[in-house]
């Protein structure tokens, strides 16, 4: 899915993950977001554009401030994808465990049978 490409790519950068982390606490302007970084406003704007293209943030309509807002529901896209395959992998390990348990039980049974026969 197209958006999933953009969301994963957007979060592959530590500065963009930091921006998301800060926006989870409060909306902020580009100026406010740029403050702690040793980075130009343009560089921060570029990172925000990547987050915006992925749907992770939106910009407010207040022409002066245009505060940046986190769209946290987009996280669901990722967690749904991750959870589906994590679950599938877990089910597979559980099936493997069950098979191993059965093998161990059979071996124990054979040992007991042999002991009984001797």
């Amino acid at each position: 899915m197209e958006q999933l490409n953009l969301v994963f790519a957007a979060l592959a950068d530590p500065t963009r993950r930091d921006l998301v982390a800060r926006l989870a606490c409060a909306d902020a302007t580009v100026g406010e977001l740029a403050e702690p970084y040793d980075m130009s406003l343009q560089a921060v704007s570029k990172h925000l554009k990547v987050l915006e293209d992925a749907g992770l943030v939106t910009r407010g309509k207040d022409a002066q401030r245009r505060p940046v807002h986190l769209e946290a529901e987009v996280f669901d896209l990722m967690t749904k994808w991750i959870e589906r395959y994590r679950q599938r992998a877990e089910e597979r390990y559980q099936r493997l465990d069950a098979v191993l348990d059965e093998l161990t039980n059979e071996q124990n049974q054979q040992r007991t049978d042999r002991k009984d026969a001797s």
Copy 2:
């Protein structure tokens, strides 16, 4: 965190997400993995290398087959990161909702007071 960069970047590609999805069901060799794609073995190996560098897959030691194995625990890195900020954003919305509720209650109270006074 360095690995988080690699994991997010690895999953930003639809072919690599498809490889992960298939490896969640069963280990497979590069040849088996390449089969459904219109892609060279080299191209698939390149994608697998990206997943391997991110720690998402490992290669078996069987020299002939070297089956590819999904390391599903690496998903936890991502879900932990995502969940922390999703939760933070949700708490914030809940606080906003509480403030809005309070404002609405106050307004209703003022209306009632005015009606009582008139």
